[in-house]
């Protein structure tokens, strides 16, 4: 599904040049669950942003389902994103002014799905993440675990081929964290490819493969399954 080759990303300020990704290459196959680990500043999040088409690399190739997407413009990236990719963030990132239902509905709206179908799909996914009873609540009325479940529901509602999770349990206690990890595992077992950035060895053990990064490139790969 994903093939990146010699990927480079450099952040420049007036005085400092920081190499975030340095000649990075790897592949993620369809249906795989990959964990990316490494110390802070090693380039994990940059990698995730590029994989999520939120950022573009300075050099290298990025094939998504065989299509070169490294040089896509804003419009094409947005289009590719909304059809194929779901995101789960550490800080949930729900829109405070929208209810649970409306937050989950949002990707379907941008994808142009009809209202009746939207309702059915949102309800189905809320049921799946067991948050149906809070569908009309606002994010600030929910606990952290509940918010992350909503975020997962939002990530999967559009049935993406790929889910990118950026430390999805970082703001949760262990019980809520385990629940979320189980949810991701279930999604993966249902066929969704997952790439997850994490600091947690515990969470990483849910994946099939761990890519360890340092200074912008991979240092080791551990296959767990």
């Amino acid at each position: 599904m994903i093939k990146i080759t010699n990927l480079e990303k450099i952040y420049r300020t007036e005085e400092v040049e920081t190499v975030a990704l340095n000649d990075l290459s790897f592949e993620v196959r369809d249906g795989e669950f990959v964990a990316v680990m490494g110390p802070s500043g090693c380039g994990k999040s940059t990698l995730l942003n590029i994989l999520g088409l939120l950022d573009d690399p300075d050099a290298g190739s990025f094939l998504f389902n065989g299509v070169e997407v490294a040089k896509f413009n804003e419009r094409k990236r947005a289009d590719m994103r909304k059809k194929n990719i779901g995101f789960v963030f550490q800080s949930f990132n729900l829109i405070d002014e929208l209810t649970v239902f409306e937050n989950v509905e949002l990707p379907l709206m941008y994808a142009g799905v009809k209202k009746s179908e939207r309702k059915a799909r949102v309800d189905e996914v809320l049921e799946k993440v067991q948050i149906m009873h809070r569908r009309n609540h606002f994010p600030q009325q929910l606990s952290g675990g509940q918010q992350q479940r909503v975020a997962v529901a939002r990530a999967v509602v559009n049935k993406p081929k790929l889910i990118l999770a950026d430390e999805p349990t970082g703001n949760l206690d262990s019980s809520n964290g385990n629940e979320v990890m189980q949810m991701l595992t279930d999604l993966n077992e249902a066929g969704t490819t997952i790439v997850m950035v994490t600091h947690s060895e515990h969470d990483a053990r849910y994946s099939h493969r761990i890519i360890r990064m340092l200074d912008g490139h991979t240092v080791t790969e551990n296959i767990l399954v």
């Binding site: 002014e97 929208l98 949002l106």
Partner: protein, 790 residues
Amino acid sequence: MIKNYFKTAWRNLVRNKVYSLINILGLSIGMAACILILLWVQNQLSHDRFHKNLDRIYIVNNRDIGDGGKFAWSWTPNIMGPTLKKDYPEVADAVRYVEGNNFLFTVGEKKMVPSGAFADPGFLSVFSFPLISGDAKNALAEVSNIVLTEKLARSLFGADDPLGKIVKIDSNAHFKVTGVLKNLPDNTAFDFAYLLPWSYKDKLGWTDSAWGNNGLNTYVMLKPGTSQATFDQKINKITTNHLPGDPLYKNREVFTQPFKDQWLYSKQENGRYIGGRIDMVRMFTAIATLILIIACINFMNLSTARSEKRAKEVGIRKVVGAQKKGLIFQFIGESVLLSGIAFLFALAIVIIFLPGFSTLVDQQLHLPFTDPLFWMSAVTFILVSGLLAGSYPAFYLSAFNPVKVLKGFFKSSTAAVNPRKVLVVIQFTFAVLLIISTFIVMQQIKHAQARDNGYNAQHLVFVKMNGAIENNYSLIRNELINRGAVVSVTKSMSPITERYSDSWNFSWTGSTEEDKKTDFVRMASDADFVKTLGTKLVMGRDIDIFKYPSDSNAILLNETAAKMMHLKDPLNAILKADDIEWRVVGVVKDFIYQSPYEKVQQLIVFGPKSWFNTMHFKLNPANTTRQNLDIVAAIFKQFNPEYPFDYKFVDAEYARKFKEEQKTGTMAALFAGLTIFISCLGLFALSTYMAETRIKEIGVRKVLGASIFNITSLLSGSFLKLVIISCVVASPIAWFVMHNWLKNYQYRISIGWPVFAGTALLVMVIALVTISFQSVKAALSNPVKALRSE
């Protein structure tokens, strides 16, 4: 999706009540001010635009050389209209019109003196004043016809049908009502309660066929397809051609001005109409636009300043598939929604303040709720305001990088020059500009009010000499004095506050042919001119026909006239005017009879051989005004029983001369106040927001030893700097604009630095008070709280 945008916008509004209130309040006040001004502008632009033949109607004007340049005037001779109609085939109709009738109307027991006009029979066909009854073509055809307005008809005849009824005018003339007009709309320059046929003016002997006697307006309606320029070329020398060989008329030109321009373009320069009310219309349209921009700037500033709050939403929407243009649409939509809400509040404000504003501008303004055009304009207004306020924030917000904002790396700009600071500077520049302008207008009015008018208006009253006053003048005069109600009386040609007549073609000892072109203002007196009016004699004596029977051809000169005539010894000099030899008996100090903003022109007070229509008298200061007026009223009732006693105080009439400028001053003050209020509303919100965002910095500084004063000045200083820049930018612009405005007045102030310094100080104090509330509050906050929240 629109529903989703709407929900987000609405919940944002509700959640941030203070900011929403400030935004909506500021925008509503700005919009309301803008709507009020635009209603007035619309009223001005609609003046006399309702006439069906508007594009073919022109007013005839004269142009000549005199007093150092060309000048034009729209008073024409009686003969002009009929000649144009007879001799020029392109003229479909030419009508004469003059206002100022003060006839006594009697219907049964009812008596009144309404104001009316004489007009040619074609008047009602050329102009489109709708008739309720009667026939426009024939209503003024007969000498004894009269056309009334609905209001006058109702006053005279109550609910009865007035058509065919008889009105007695003065003591013996009977007129048949042949037409009833709808009341004149507020947006017409014509002002009459009735129309009498021109033939009645002829019958009274009030007309002549002299080409040099200009005392009425002539309107021509040209045939379709006639070019004004060609017609003007043809009539250019019409007066000169009818007065061949007369050197006084050799340069006289006749031309037309489109009737539709008459209301807006009445100011002339070198004999051409170049401005007038249109200047005020333009100025206030600019002010309306500025106020709206200032209100929209509040919206821009608050939206962008609070962008951190919306940044996460933008990031999420982008992540889940939103494109930039969709977000731009969303944010512009939000501002249009807010603009719509603000418009509703603005309408409420307008409805509340419209009656007061109508009084202020002296026009009956109304909101045309039933006019579809009004609602179309309202929608356009909302969209324009929404776009104006929302486009910059929309582009700004939609450009956020989702990676940065979702990671919390977003920080609003703290650069030395950022658009928000520029917008605050623009806002305050407008506010300072308006405040300086208001102060200068006020100073100019005060300056003119403080000018010595050259006479004593205290206890001075005048009445029009109607009915039997002229015949009983001596009896009335004696009675007034003998009964102790007044101390002196003089009759004159016009009230001292007005100029009714001026003319040229005068000669005197040592005058040249060129001097005959000098225009003199004419006044008149029988006796006690100086004593009654309180003017000051520079030399000689007052005219006094009672003491000096030969004073029937005596004259008084004002100082300007004496100087201009180069008379070595003005006393006893002979002046020839109207084929009469007049003898100078005195010179009076210049006094203001017209505009207190202009220099005093040469003036002659003619003796009793002249004509009179006004009577001035000085009330006895030993009695109360009420006592005096009761006696005076009784005397007039005795000697002029048919007419109601109608009097005016000279000081009140003189005060009216400042009305226009006071109106401008009040409007400028009102809108300057609103501008500074809206700007401060924005400043308050910005300072609140700034205090919120810098809470950690304030905490750190306090922990490191900063005092409350240090913190307050740190927070206030950044805003004060912007206000100071605004003062620096606005001052030269204000000087330039007001310097040009003052050029309209011959008697004017010079603009000094205190007005700029004073305004700067005032605005800084207002701004400081606005922001210090939040600055002090932030400075007093507990630093531990702020730092713990990190």
